[in-house]
Point group: C2
Chain length 625, copies 2
């Protein structure tokens, strides 16, 4: 059949172009591309529907590509390439489809080319970056949730997964999630090419085990020869017609397939073919009948939505009333939900602690329970936020976001839009002990490029933090506190990202946030009784830090600062302030933080024991000459 | 049978004492304890062998306890409680065994008691802390590897896993690892009590699915009524006699079992029984025949080993020769292995990039491939390091340690001994692009309490960093660089943790590490030609940072510092220096770091593009007034 021959020709042209591109860049992974050439050919020229004019249309299918690390999302197919290092064949497929000239492929990995070593959304056909393995399927599942339950379009999501990559636990978190939510618009393709980076994978070509695992995790399974285009056409058709569960296509392939003397051989991971390239290209060219394949027509239809959002009514608290910021989070999320139905909440079975449960009670259809699997929780949130289809709020204990640091790191490269809300920070949570206390969360989120780090200290500023985060595109972190703390701001107070507020006046400058802002206020009151006046500053956001405000207020306070935080000394509020003042003279700072691993106990006792309470602040102020 | 009745009585006494302890602390998780009472009774008084005199003997069985979050290691049983929040029943079991008086249980969660909310090694019967879910099984597998392949004793390792917890992908990473290495001395017990924290688990009581998953991941499976002591006795006996594969006991249980009106009911997670306590205790007491059970005798036998270690020969490089620090890592590890056979290397299929392959080639039996599953990689390393049985070196790309941040965070609470070596840091890796570049690793490891952060800048200091890390107990991170850099130290140079070195003299103080130290040296040379002399400082360790050395040298250089790092600005070398100088006057600092998400390109081009190369350093020096 001419069509099948055309698909086979495309596969071999993709191989040839992957070799040429990696020869030009003198680095890259041509053998990882070769094992998936037929899969890419069939996906791009038979299975997926897409339009070159609107590569990111919300109704287009999605392909996530992930072979020993790819991930791409696409056009009317959300294609995610989990094994991102196979980027050259992704680029070759788009060139073959006509999105850009084939000659551009020779700019692979050049400093002024967007055809980077691993795909990023700097390219208009890539929705999320990949290259760190095992993250694609969660993102694809988040996209599939939007398509099935919110957009209700018939687009499909494809995610390519490498066999080495499938050892990542995050894959199995995503598998369990996808079957629980019956994501029949999701298809995972396992490129089982037997060889990892440094040795064969643990399961090699044992397809039976892969199939048993995928079945046990609730997937329809199809075992297929991954180099047989006819079998692949049939497999993808079957996946599309399967209802009520996602499908896993388990493709037996060979690394370096079609490269004589290289196919299925060890020690060829991540290496251009060098002086073997010409021979291999000639060999592949000899198999071409030079037929072309056309892309599948596509007429995008998706509901128009807006992400405009605000609190439907302002905060309404009484000064001095005690309310935990985590509780105000739930209240504020409902207020946002009242103005935009695309505000979605995700949690990892902690909703009755983080107060995302308040949102579930108000809008049960807009809450997605992700169970105890934080990598997938964040990945699903990133997927849901793609292409501007939702404002995802993701909550769990702040400490457990550390489980998803790599997803957040990649989220920044992916230009993701996700709002992370972490409760139970610091020693002020009390009796549950150190395993539940976030004491490094500020440092972690501060390293994420472009991430705003909010640390509101009362219910009024908490509601505004939620609103400010919802209104911008990007990654945000809001740190909420477990204990109830007094309302200190009038309901009409205006808050801005990167702008601090003076909440108490003069002399030495005290800077705290959350529970320690209240300790600073207590200390300031007691010091005032003793005739020592302190100015107290609420930074509101830790990143960006209000450097100008800090410098100005520090100068007005004789250059003396005491910073106090419920966090380890590294990378949090104290070092943010130290960095802000480091290029100025005449300003010195004392830094109070949790300097050992804490233990269980009542919150107030722990705060004093670890030197971040009002007594410690008073001592620090008095010790200033 | 009297023995079975005694085990049932113990189970109910454990329930009663769990209720009493959480009544006294007014917080805690009695219902999570109740579901596992029979399991704990049978483990402690029939299955496990241990001696109260030597709770941490290396030949003792190990129990890791992990029910919706426990983890304990034990006595001659390594018991790990994954579901750490069920700590009260662990403490109650030890009291029942006679390790301490039952009355101590009423001190649960008090600030001066080691009976914390979640177990930590502050208790002599706990080897690793738990409380963050899904980590226990990896640690247990690491212990089992030591027992089976290195100590070659017949101890067994038990890990209790909550059903909610089993949604964590790290569980499935550990399952795959345990079956790959045929760890028949490992038994995982799934406490399937149907209810999570905030709602039923996704699989509820669907035991068939649990069994299919465990089987597919290579475990022998036994489905059992988790409240039937006779069935449990038989199941554990069968597990002990199963060869060639680990066993999963899938126990159907009920949360709050035996508590009338509470058993199997939602909304009872993490709550003491309050005014229902007296009634429930009376009900349970009514079932007691008041029989006691004895612990199983144990005669510890394990090979005596020493962890004394050093390089068997000093570094032997020529000044100016170009060697990548990652390559010197492999060389130094072999030198350590020559003096101690318990130096073990673990990697996640990147051994040909990190150079742990050098060690595998020298000592194939001391290398354990962990495939692409970094959470499990770190967990296994922590387990291997328990009880002083090995010096585990764990390597992967530095960026991918972010996958295991939560394991490292818990590792600190566990007082773990593990050496993490991360390669491919910063933009200086070049063409692979941002997904592969570690630009936040320093910040992450700096937040780990007690962790030393080494950042050697040449092969000589690299070898000494490896040695210094091996010679101390605790968590260490060594950051290695991909490019080859010149040897700058004589082979007999002595290095110390927290001590920097001046490598070039005078005026403005330049501080760099790794690749940026070499850029600083280049800048200093060019500036000297222009008559501007700079002093260049190599900090060697980023944590602890040599605050005294920095202050002293800064003062000698007119208080002017330029810090340059191949890392994001937050939480790395720059903020460490900013923190060190923040309480001094007359010192100002300019900070060069990577301030946007980088892209693919040649290393040298990227270093200049992102403002951390010699030209940027020269500009910064000249801009000082």
């Amino acid at each position: 059949m001419a069509k099948l021959q055309a698909l086979q020709d495309v596969a071999n042209r993709l191989r040839i172009n992957s070799i040429k591109a990696t020869q030009a860049s003198k680095s890259g992974h041509p053998t990882s591309c070769a094992s998936m050439a037929e899969i890419m050919s069939v996906l791009f020229f038979d299975t997926m529907r897409y339009s070159l004019k609107e590569p990111r249309h919300p109704a287009s299918d999605r392909l996530k590509y992930d072979v020993v690390g790819y991930s791409i999302f696409n056009v009317n197919t959300f294609l995610l390439l989990g094994k991102g290092h196979s980027a050259p064949i992704l680029y070759a497929a788009w060139a073959e489809a006509g999105l850009f000239p084939v000659s551009d492929l020779l700019n692979l990995r050049k400093i002024d080319s967007d055809l980077e070593g691993h795909p990023t959304p700097r390219l208009n056909f890539v929705d999320v970056a990949t290259g760190s393995l095992g993250q694609g399927l969660s993102v694809a599942a988040g996209m599939a949730v939007i398509g099935k339950y919110f957009d209700k379009t018939d687009f499909r999501t494809y995610c390519l997964i490498g066999d080495g990559e499938s050892a990542e636990g995050s894959i199995w978190e995503a598998m369990a999630f996808a079957s629980h939510y019956k994501l029949d618009n999701l298809c995972a393709i396992f490129d089982i090419n037997r060889l990892g980076q440094s040795e064969p994978t643990s399961l090699q070509h044992n397809l039976d085990i892969y199939e048993a695992r995928a079945k046990a995790f609730g997937f329809e399974t199809i075992v297929v020869d991954g180099h047989d285009v006819a079998a692949l056409v049939e497999a993808f058709a079957k996946a599309s017609s399967t209802k009520g569960r996602p499908t896993a296509i388990l493709a037996k392939t060979y690394k370096g397939k079609g490269f004589p003397d290289i196919e299925d051989k060890d020690n060829w991971h991540g290496k251009p073919l060098g002086d073997k390239a010409d021979y291999v290209i000639k060999h592949l060219e000899g198999q071409l009948k030079n037929l072309s394949a056309a892309i599948q027509p596509f007429n995008p239809v998706a509901p128009e939505i807006s992400l405009k959002v605000s609190l439907n009514e302002p905060p309404s608290y009484k000064l001095g009333d005690k309310i935990a910021t985590r509780q105000a989070y739930g209240t504020s999320l409902v207020k946002l939900g009242n103005t935009n139905p695309r505000v979605l909440a995700f949690d990892g079975d902690t909703k009755n602690s983080t107060f995302s449960e308040t949102y579930k009670k108000a809008f049960p259809d807009r809450y997605i329970e992700c169970f105890i699997a934080e990598q997938n929780l964040v990945g699903v949130g990133i997927g849901a936020g793609c292409r501007g289809r939702a404002i995802p709020f993701v909550s769990t204990f702040a400490a457990f976001f550390s489980r998803a640091f790599d997803q957040l790191r990649m989220g920044a490269i992916s230009q993701a839009n996700i709002k992370c809300v972490g409760s139970h920070c610091g020693v002020s949570i009390g009796e549950d002990g150190p395993s539940q206390m976030a004491l490094e969360d500020l440092a972690m989120f501060r390293t994420i490029p472009g991430c705003n780090v909010f640390y509101p200290s009362d219910a009024v500023s908490m509601e505004r933090a939620t609103e400010l985060a919802a209104q911008r595109k990007g990654i945000d972190f809001i740190r909420t506190s477990r204990p109830a703390t007094p309302v200190i701001y009038a309901n009409d107070t205006v808050f801005e990202i990167g702008k601090s507020k003076v909440v108490h006046n003069d002399k030495v400058l005290l800077i705290g946030a959350g529970i320690t802002l209240h300790e600073a206020l207590k200390a300031a009151d007691q010091l005032a009784d003793q005739g020592v006046n302190c100015r107290v500053l609420d930074p509101f956001t830790i990143k960006p830090i209000d450097a100008a405000g800090i410098l100005e207020n520090a100068k007005a306070c004789n250059g003396k600062i005491v910073v106090v935080e419920d966090h380890y000394p590294e990378g949090g509020l104290g070092e943010a302030v130290a960095g802000a003042i480091s290029n100025s003279t005449g300003i010195t700072m004392k830094h109070l933080a949790v300097r050992e691993i804490p233990r269980s106990g009542p919150p107030a006792d722990l705060i004093e024991k670890y030197g971040i309470g009002s007594n410690s602040i008073i001592s620090a102020v008095k010790s200033f000459a």
